[in-house]
Each structure stands twice: as C-alpha cells, then as structure tokens.
Symmetry: C2
C-alpha cells in the first residue's frame, strides 16, 4: 500500500467519523523513547523512519513535523508521499495548531488517539485549538482499521532483576514509593513509564530495542501493588517471587478497569508528562488527582550502593571490550577494511565476550571525519565511510549489563592532528575534566554546573548545541530523568547516587566532531562550616586519546586529573587483559 493509498483510506474514515483532521504520533502508550514495532504508526503511515515526527491528515492536505536532525532524511522519505514536510524550529514553519487553523478553519473537529500522547500533551493541544474554536476528539483510533499486516505486540519473556543487582526488594521499593506518596497525602500512584514499572517490580525484559524493559503498568495504593502484564510473559519463578512480595498480577488490558474503581477516598498521584491521556480519563471520576513528578523517577535516579557497585563492575567489562576494540582499530586502520558500520559490529562482538552483556544500550554512533559533526549520525549502507589512517573518528556506544548500563564516547585521531584539531580536542577535554573535578554544595542543580564543561571553549567563542549530561538507568534506559546537566533550567537537585553522563563536544560542520563522554556518579565529598558538599565519581573506564592534546592548554590540575584517571583505568582493567593488551593499555595510560 502506498502512502497516498493510506491517506485515501484514512480520509474515508475521517468522513465516517465526521472529523476534519487526524493526528498520528510516534509514541506507544508508555511514551517510551524506543517504541515497539506494533506502535510505529507514524513511520508505517508516512514512510518517514526518524525517531521524532508527527503527521496530520486533513480532508485536503497532509503534513509531517520533524526537527532539524531529520530534515534531509524526511525530505527523501516523503518524496511523492502526498505529505508535505514542516520543518520545526524555522520561523516560517506553522505549528500543528496554526496549520490546522489554516487548513480546516474554525469550528472544526479533529481526532487523535489519547493512548499515544501524554496528559500534558493532549491538554496543551486542546487548549491551543480552543482559541481557533477547533474541538478535539481524544479517543479515536483510525490507524488500526487500515493497518494491514500490523506487527504483533512483543511477547518476550520478562525476568527478575535479582536482588544482588537491584539492592532493594520489591516490597522495599513499594515502601519507598508509599513514603513519597504520603508527603502529598496521596493514596495511590500509577506507573506507566516502562523503566519505572521495571524498577519498582525488579523486572526486566526485551520488548523494546536497547531498553531492557517489559510492557506493563503498575498501580500502587496504600495496601496493594498491582502489576498489569500479559501473563504469558511471566515464568513460574518470577510469578512466585511476585506472589511472595504480595504483588497482584493482572492482565495488561485490565488497567483501565482498575483505574475506574478508584473513588473519592483514593487520591491518586500521576505524572502528567508520563501518563497517557487515555488512562488519565479512565481514573474514577470522583478520585482526586494530584499531578506531580512520578515518585518512582527520583527514587530510581538515586542509585543505591549495590547498584553503584554494579555500575563499577559493568564498567570493567565495558572497558575491557573497548580496549580490545581500540587495539583492533589501531591494527586494522591501515588496511582500508574498516567502515563506520563494521565498527558497530566489532564493538558488539567485543562486548558480547562478557557473559553479563545483554545488548547495546543504544545504536552505536561511529562518525568518521565530517560525519562526526552530525550529532545524531547513524551510519547506513549508503552513508558508511571507510576509515582511513587520518583525521578524527568519534565513537559513541554503550552496553546493557545485568549490573548496569554504560554510555561512552571516545574520539581518536588516526594520524597527526592539526593545530585546530588539537585546540578543539583539548578544549573538549578541559570541559569534561572541569565538570569531573568540581565539588558542589548539597542543593545544586545540574543547570548550575553545565558551564563548567563549556567555559574553556566559550573563551574561544566555541559552543555545542546539546546538553552536557543525561541521567542513566541501572540496567535500564540509557536516557533517564529527572536530573540533567544542561543550560535549560531543571529544578531537580543533583543527589547522592545519581548517575549521569558528562559529554561536552565540538562539531565543525564538514570537518569533524569531537566528543568525550564518561558516566559520573554523585557522591558525598565533605561537610564543613559551609555545609555539605558533593562530588562526582567517574565510573567509565577507558583511555582517553592523548595524541591530540595540546598540553600547554591544560592546567596543572587538569593534567593531574587525567594522569590519575589513566592510572585508575589501568589498575582496574589490566588483570582482565592478555599480556599484549596490557602493554597496549599501559602505553595508552602513561602519565602526560
């Protein structure tokens, strides 16, 4: 079926439903970053496969909104589709609401599937369209009736995240959530984000690419904890454990019904950015609703000592794999056999040597030369460069291990760096080190620290357009909140146990990209007359290329930090290496 045919079929349904337009999003009901095939409706409908995009189809027109990362790809994939491209962020681009106002006029009716957007998202759409007199019908699915051969829902098995990795039993976690609820006089909360459900119930799975999660909802009340999941996903031992922990298991599709039972004495806390609008509307009419950050989000972000030790173990495994990878790269770069795609394969291969490795934590970014400057680059057969012994290669990759999740970027220079390359590389390194070295008072937000990673390059009038740090889950999503280290305000404080990335970069379009990324964990530093202070523990274990460093640009403290870091890398990895590998690592980690 061509996109034009799909549009025609949709328009027949529009007419039947007396609608003037329909909105197709890229989400699943859990609003996941990585979406199971079953819910990739926008990609199926439009042919545009990027990770972000919304299609709107009216009786006469159709358009797709996406951001600058995907302008080129969307233009190609939408060719002859009958869908016009609306480039988000450009001044001349109308918003979806403005486009609707122009295309369907006042006093129209549009439809959307409330399961596939957040409470906040749908309420925003309703409010903004109200100004144009456009009504929004929020419970209409026009995709399923026209989607022939729709992929099935994932039926993969779930498994228990063992106590030796999680550090807390399900009951303990439920207890912590109830403690948070009591602060707001709330009696219940609904967990819909898959990583929050998996965290709370010590479950893992493989329903989604890169994130080891399983499709499920959680409903936690004063005296019950219920997991809503396809019972076929649960094996006997997991079922027994859940039962021991007094977790009720109900079918995935029973969640609406259970929410409907809530009454006026069941104040429920929901996160309006995470809960989908459909579930929100199914909460019992009389149940008071409190809209707040999900209590599981902060609890999950503050890793306990068992989880942190798990991260450290995962980092050793990852560091060994990366050592082998960079040796292989050095030995083969002259042979003209390595491409951006084979780099990803080889990394997977080296990581797979460790029995605790489950999968990659995201799609490897191997950006050679000017591809390194495309921040969200992902090599394809068409674009993949063959690596030559010259210039910069940026490799951003990560792994899921039972005990933790890794995310690391190294940029290596494959011959003799130019003065500009050395300056840029050293500025990025200085930023990464300055953020690694800081002590900061309890009560500090990531926003306050972001500049540390930028100040050296700012003083050369250079900047990067992405954030400096995102939270990382423990054998969970590689991107998690609620904390971050970014220029934008985020009121969440950095707290002991939080794990996040530290990844400044410099991107020279058409030339190269440089990014250096470690994961860092918040730890107590000291208590003085001036209060309590925190610091970052660097978790990632992998040498940082010293060849492109302009030593004159490093301060004494920065050089010391790098030498100490390299000494730690060698001491933690060397016992897992062959003699040859050990020699290579010793050479790569010798003091500046």
């Amino acid at each position: 079926m061509t996109t034009l045919e799909k549009i025609e079929k949709l328009r027949v349904l529009l007419k039947k439903q007396k609608l003037d337009a329909y909105i197709i999003t890229s989400n699943d009901p859990h609003l996941s970053e990585y979406v199971p095939e079953f819910w990739k409706a926008r990609a199926w409908f439009s042919g545009f496969s990027g990770s972000a995009g919304t299609v709107v189809v009216s009786k006469e027109n159709a358009a797709l909104w996406t951001d600058s990362r995907y302008f080129l790809q969307a233009e190609q994939q939408l060719e002859k589709s009958g869908i016009e491209l609306c480039k988000m962020g450009l001044p001349e681009t109308p918003s979806i609401e403005e486009w609707l106002a122009m295309n369907i006029g006042k006093h129209a009716r549009i439809g959307l599937d409330g399961r596939l957007q957040s409470v906040q998202g749908v309420q925003g759409t309703i409010d903004r369209l109200k100004r144009y007199g456009i009504e929004v019908i929020t419970s209409i699915d026009l995709i399923d009736p026209i989607w022939d051969n729709r992929p099935s829902l994932p039926h993969n098995k779930a498994f228990t995240h063992e106590l030796k990795y999680s550090g807390l039993t399900i009951s303990e976690k439920i207890g912590l959530i109830r403690g948070e609820l009591s602060k707001y006089d709330a009696d219940a909360t609904l967990l819909t984000a898959l990583d929050e459900v998996c965290w709370a119930f010590n479950l893992r799975g493989s329903d989604v690419a890169f994130n080891p999660v399983v499709l499920a909802y959680g409903l936690i009340t004063d005296n019950e904890a219920t997991l809503f999941i396809d019972s076929q996903k649960i094996d006997e031992s997991t079922a027994n454990l859940l039962s021991q922990e007094r977790v009720k298991v109900k079918d995935y599709n029973k969640i609406e019904k259970e929410l409907g039972k809530l009454g006026k004495h069941d104040t429920i806390l929901i996160d309006p950015q995470k809960v989908n609008y459909h579930l929100y509307k199914h909460i019992g009419e009389k149940a008071p609703v409190i809209e707040k950050l999900s209590p599981a989000a902060l609890l999950k972000a503050r890793k306990n000592s068992v989880e942190l030790e798990g991260f450290r173990n995962a980092m050793v495994a990852d560091g060994v794999a990366l050592t082998k990878f960079f040796i292989w790269l050095e030995q083969n770069v002259d042979s003209a056999t390595i491409t951006e795609l084979t780099i990803a394969e080889k990394l997977r291969e080296f990581r797979s040597l460790n029995s605790n490795f489950i999968s990659e934590s995201f799609d490897t970014i191997a950006g050679y030369a000017d591809h390194g400057a495309i921040v969200h680059y992902s090599a394809t057969q068409q674009t993949s460069y063959t690596i030559k012994p010259e210039g910069f290669l940026l490799v951003d990759s990560g792994g899921q291990y039972y005990s933790g999740t890794t995310d690391i970027t190294r940029t290596v220079h494959l011959s003799t760096p130019s003065a500009e390359e050395m300056q840029d590389y050293t500025l990025v390194l200085k930023g990464m080190i300055q953020l690694s070295m800081i002590n900061f008072p309890v009560g500090t937000r990531g926003t306050q620290l972001d500049v540390l990673a930028r100040m050296a390059m700012w003083n050369k009038n250079i900047n990067y357009g992405h954030g400096t740090g995102h939270g990382v889950g423990c054998f969970l999503n590689v991107h998690e909140g609620p904390q971050s280290i970014r220029p934008n305000e985020n009121p969440i404080l950095l707290e002991v146990g939080m794990v996040q990335s530290n990844e400044p970069g410099i991107y020279r379009a058409g030339k190269y990209g440089i990014r250096i990324e470690n994961l860092i964990a918040c730890q107590p530093a000291a208590e003085t007359a001036f209060g309590k202070f925190l610091r970052f523990e660097t978790l990632t274990l992998c040498p940082i290329d010293t060849k492109p460093i302009d030593k004159m640009l490093l301060t004494k403290e920065e050089t010391e930090w790098l030498n100490n870091y390299h000494s730690m890398v060698f001491s933690k990895l060397n016992k897992f290496l062959t003699e040859e590998e050990k020699q290579w690592l010793e050479n790569k980690t010798k003091p500046l």
Copy 2:
C-alpha cells in the same frame, strides 16, 4: 506612645471595623527598596528598624516576621513591645497565614492596606487564607488614624537627567516602551517603580535615601504619556522640557482616577510584582489587563553607549576618591583613631571632592575583623570597632554621580595574613576573576555563570550564601533588575549594555569576611561559526590588595587578568592624582 499603647489603639479600630487582625508592612506604594519616612509604618509601630519585617496584630496577639539578618536586632528592639518575634526560615516558625489560622481561627476577616503591597503579594495572601476560610479586606488603613506626628511626604525638587547623561530623550524612551507594548498588543502601561518612572521621564530627585528618585507615577498609552507628580516638585525648566516632549503632568493623587477611565479598548500591561494592589483595583473594570515584566525594566537595564560612557567617567571619580581613602587608611591605621563609623564618613568626604558626586548609593558597610563576616553589617555607635593594624577590613561602598552609580567592595589586610586568610582571599579573587574573564553565547542567563565565581572555593568545600551579581542603575538604584547572577533560576538573559556587580565572598563567622566586588558591563565579544558571543567589561577602577594573595593558587590567566586590570586602573586614574598619590597607586598596581 509605647508599642503597647499603639497596639491598644489599633485594636479599638479593629473592633470598630469588625476585623480580627491587621497586617502592617514595610513598603511604600512604589514598593521601593528604600522607603521615605512617611511610609515607615512597621518601624514606627513596632520599634523594629530593620529593612524587612511584617507585623500582624490580632485581637489577642501580635507578631513580627523578619529574616535571619535581623534576628538579634529584632529580639532587642521588640523587648517588652508586646510583639512576639517570628523567625522566618526556621522550620518551627509558622507563616503569617498559619499564624492567623491558629490565632483567629476560621471564617475570620483580616485587613491590610492594598497600597503597600504588590498585586502578586496580596493575591497570594488572599489565596492562601482562602484555604482557612479567612476573608481579606484589602483597602483599610488603620495606621494613619493612630500615627501622631507622622512625618510628612517628601517635598524635594525633581530635576532633569540631562541628555548628555541619559543618551535618549523622553520621547525616544516612550517610543521604546510603546514598541514593547505592541509586542503584546497592549495599549498602555503603568509605571510605579520610582526608578522606572525616573528613567522613562529623564527625571531625578532626592525623595528617597540613596536612590536619586522622585515620587511619581507614569501612565503611557498609545498616544499619551502622563507623569503624576506633586507639581511643586517641578521647576519651570523641567516643566518646559516635559511640555516640549508632550508629557502631560497631573497631580500625584490623580492616578487612581485616570486608571479608572481606561475602558475595554485600553489593554493595559502591568507588572504584578511592582504595581500595588490598590492601583490595580482602580484600573477601569472593562480594561483588559496583561500581567508581565514591566517593559521599562529591560529597556532601563540595557544601558546605551552614553550611559556606559557615563559609568566609565563615574568610575574614574570613584577610583580617585577610593585611592585617597586607602592612602589615608594606610597612613592612619596605626594611630588607633579610625573606627568603622569614621571610615564611612571619610569615604563620603573623599567622594564629595568631585562635583558630580550627589550622595552615597547605599549605607557604607565597613566590617572590621569578625564584623566582616556579617553580610549586611552596618556599624552603629554601639558596635563600631576601632581599626587596629591587624587582620582583614571589608569596605563595601558606592556613590551616585550624575553620569552613573558605583558599588565597590575591597577587602584589605592590615598586617601579615595567615595561611587560611591567604587561601580564602585568593579563592574569592579567583572567583571574581573567572567571572570577569568569561565569554558566553548570546542567550545565556546569569544563573548559568554564577558557578564561575564559586568553583575555586567549592573545590575547598567553601561557599557563600548570597548572590554573585545584581543589576545597577545609571544614576539610579544601586540594586535593579531584572537580570542577576545567582544560583536561583532567573529567566532573564544577559544582554549587551547590562551593568551588574561581580561580588563573591567568604565569611568565617567570628573571624573575618572577605568580598571583592567590581561592576561589569555586558559587551559584544565575537561572532563565529558557533554564534554570537558576549563578554564583560570591568568598569570599577580601584586596586585590589595583593598582599593576601597566594600566588601559587592563581592560574597564569588569572595573574595576567589581575596585572592587566591593575595596569588599566593606573592608566585611567593617575592623571587625577598628586605625585604622592600617583606613587602609591603605582606601587599598588605593579604586576604580580
């Protein structure tokens, strides 16, 4: 009349008005930082003279809320007053609303004078008390009837801030304001903050201590600009200028009536944090109200080139006065004749030698030894220390000059500093220099830069509890918004022309305080492939004591910055000094 008698008189009025409690604030109708005597109702009523405090009197009880700066002073001044002290910020202290709920119970009525609180403040009080069923009557003045011998309103003359200082005519400024209004489709705005009125109408006066402002309101509509002011304050030449600029002049008390004339086609923009509730309620019922930051605030904050040149001239005058002062201090510190109070007098004396000096811009803080650690210290006859040739002396002072406002802190060591003193002093200096040196992209907020002034001390687990930078007016208020450099989020961007302070500090209770403060102006720095960048120009001209510097703690760049700064100080000041002064300055500004 004792406070107890005042309370009794107030309670008679409470009964007459059928009220259960009354709130007395410290504000004037313009919500000024420095309040004319006429409006110092809370100080008159309670005897507590601190700058911040609110009194609530119920039928049975009375209490005063103030912050930690004033706990000691308030305890002393409230002794036997019949007013209990509520220490704000302590966990056991009830809020005013909680106190009212406990003391007057549900379904009560309280009164306040809506002229003396902002729209945002009164609406917050109403909302919070609604939860307890307490009604708020917002237009009751129970103070004037009982205040015998109340001071009169200030009747000082206004004068024109000449074009050679302001850089823009009144018409040009009104035009800029109208331009901002049109962005919100607003037809009018009400200026109530005295510095905004004075800025817009190029007026200055002396109605308020330290701030060269005059009591007035401004109402700017699409086609009229009206100044509401006591006509006796306006001399003929000012009246002529206002008339030439097509400004209507009406009596100060006519503002309510004019606001009442606004109708449904007069959309008015008001700043809910600056406009008092009484005026807000007098806006014509049908006039649509938009609540936004006052457009005059940002326009005033972005100094034009004439104003910036005026600042530079004022800094030369100030630097000459400070040079003379520090020479005098050095020559007399051994004589045991200098006290914290004589320091303030002497500074005023040296500044007064310049004919463009009008007044101090705030009450000088001369904090010797442990007094330096009290951030808002102000010496009195009782507390004033005699300065000895030992330890740290912190001097924070400023002047109002026709062309600009100054605010400077220097901390000098009067003998041989200890290792701890040198460490702390150098950490403060490093912070001040790091913030001075930074380049930053257009679009940066002060919040993002605050850490630069703290990172060196944070790495030694030291911090300070105040912000790093406040905006400074041009021959206007020494504290102005809307930008700031603080840990707290403030969405206002730093823009070209903005002038602010740069004043990190370290305070060791019982020992000493160190603060080093310069004023810095935002300037364009560069435009590169990475966008436009800004930098700070340091305006303040006065040597920084080098004796307590631990040179080993400074980076090469920091030492260079200090040497360049000192070289600039000498080159800009030396021609206004005697031979002897010049030699002193040369010695104080020689390279490290």
